[in-house]
Amino acid sequence: MSHALDAPAPSVVTKLQMPALIVGGIGLVAGVIGAVLNFQAFLHAYLVAFSFWNGISLGMMLILMIQYLSGGGWGIILRRTLEAGTRNMWLMAVLFLPILAGTVMNKLYIWTDHAKVEADHHLHQKAPYLNIPFFSVRLVIYFIVWLTFAFLLNRWSLQQDQSADKKLARNLRNLSGPGLLIMAITLTFSNIDWLMSLQPHWFSSMYPLINIVGNLLAAMCFGVIFVALMSDHAPFKGLIQTRHFRDMGNLMLAFVMLWTYTSLSQLLITYSGNLPEETPWYMNRITGGWGYVAVLLLTCHFVLPFIVLLQRRVKDPGKPLIWIGTFIIAMRVVDLFWWIKPSFDAGQGLAAAYKLSTFNVHWLDIVLPLAMGGIWTWCFIWQLKKRPLVPQHDPNMKEAFAHGGH
């Protein structure tokens, strides 16, 4: 291959770094002001923003592991972009601190309120799991696991570039198999801790899975957006072929469908079960104005991306994926908002059916996802510039970039 594989990140991406920093900086100031004015509203918005951006880092790690096991040229092209995202894991660990503060200060979760726990049989029963010390221990475990995986995936991949040692490809595969299992477990439990416990009387075993699929979808879209932006420049120019973009578009389509499948499954299980501790969760999210958000999600998180992504003329050129990816990412934030926000003004436990949530949105709900996105993206581009954009010595390299199918 005669391409300049070690060309630096093209300016089309690096020039985004400064605007990202400005958005992040202004948002940070606004966020601090908002936190001082109304700490609780700040926490509610912050949880949405954190869940989304943390999910992108984790989703990127999942896609990396899946690709090490499955192979495929699309993944070799995406790899450095995804790796840069996983190197933001430390940032997410730091950014968790406000949520921890909110938990300790009894501002975010009802199970931190001793009086309520003592008065409620169900909460009392769940106290051995839902208490601040154990919550903190689990939190530390999650981040240790995630930071370790991010460190190893990045380290071995870079060493493979430099040394061409065949052992490293095997190491990466051996890490990815059990790694995916451990990721699934930690993601499930972190989702139970951080999101499902907002309404601790309610439970759904499908809920963490919807979140994992949503993370995969958002991470895939984010990675594809950046690769499509860079596709006209070295080192990608001439290297990316139509079939790579088609694969990426197909994966976006697959995750859109999987999101729909898991979301519908949860609805069906709740709908057919018809139990008093489960149905209020949906009642809160389809009445009082939230129904419009639900319809928006059905049409714009499923129907529209599904129809658009079916078409080859969208996938093959690559560039249209930038727009559809951005659109899906925006819908993913709405999805998380729809999950999280109605938890706060709804009745809990036995009161759930009598006090349903009404649609409400705080200015921080819009500012904080953008602010965290600015900071996240700034760090992401900073990391992206550090390494060559195309990895070397991958065992599937030759067949991934051979022209034609034979």
């Binding site: 519908l264 069906l268 034609g404 034979h406």
Partner: protein
């Protein structure tokens, strides 16, 4: 009744050793203005469809239509059964409990689309075909093993046996044979 007059020849068949030669030959054949020709290979070659400008197959549209039909039938069947034919109170849910209709609707979409897809693929390929003139060429059995063939058919308006032979000879095939009907 007189049998329908058939031309003596089905076409001219050229044999190639490598897929690249075949792709180049197909491109040249298309550029020379031939339209009724086909390529035969032991395995799928993605570039071949590009070279032949052969992207017009209606399968996608047929499958979409079949899936839509399946959705209407699946959803309609359940709506009819639950609202008109045999309304029943199930766990206090409304008779028109549409979320519960989705799985069966989905299965109907898949069943209709899959069966229609396979069957229309066979129909559009003209299968089953017990006899094909190409089987008259002894070498043609190699098409399932390691040789690559291009056949310009006699039904092409530009087809002239001698001219077409001459044209194919320029493409450096290993062998050229006339295919008899």
């Amino acid at each position: 009744m007189k049998p329908k007059a058939r031309s003596l020849h089905y076409g001219v068949l050229a044999e190639f050793d490598t897929p690249q030669q075949l792709v180049d030959a197909a491109r040249a054949t298309h550029d020379a203005g031939f339209r009724k020709y086909d390529a035969y290979t032991p395995f799928p070659i993605e570039e071949l469809a590009d070279a032949m400008h052969d992207h017009q197959n209606p399968i996608a549209k047929i499958v979409l239509l079949a899936g839509f039909t399946g959705a209407c039938i699946g959803f309609g069947m359940q709506t009819f059964a639950n609202l008109v034919h045999y309304p029943m109170n199930i766990a206090g849910r409304p008779n028109f409990a549409w979320p519960m209709f989705i799985p069966v609707t989905f299965e109907c979409i898949v069943a209709f689309a899959a069966f229609t897809g396979v069957l229309s693929m066979l129909a559009l390929n003209g299968l089953p075909t017990p006899y094909h003139p190409l089987f008259n060429c002894p070498n043609f059995s190699q098409a399932t093993r390691n040789k690559f063939f291009l056949c310009i058919e006699a039904t092409d308006p530009k087809f002239e046996l001698a001219e077409t032979r001459k044209f194919l000879e320029q493409l450096n095939p290993r062998e050229i044979s006339d295919v008899e009907n």
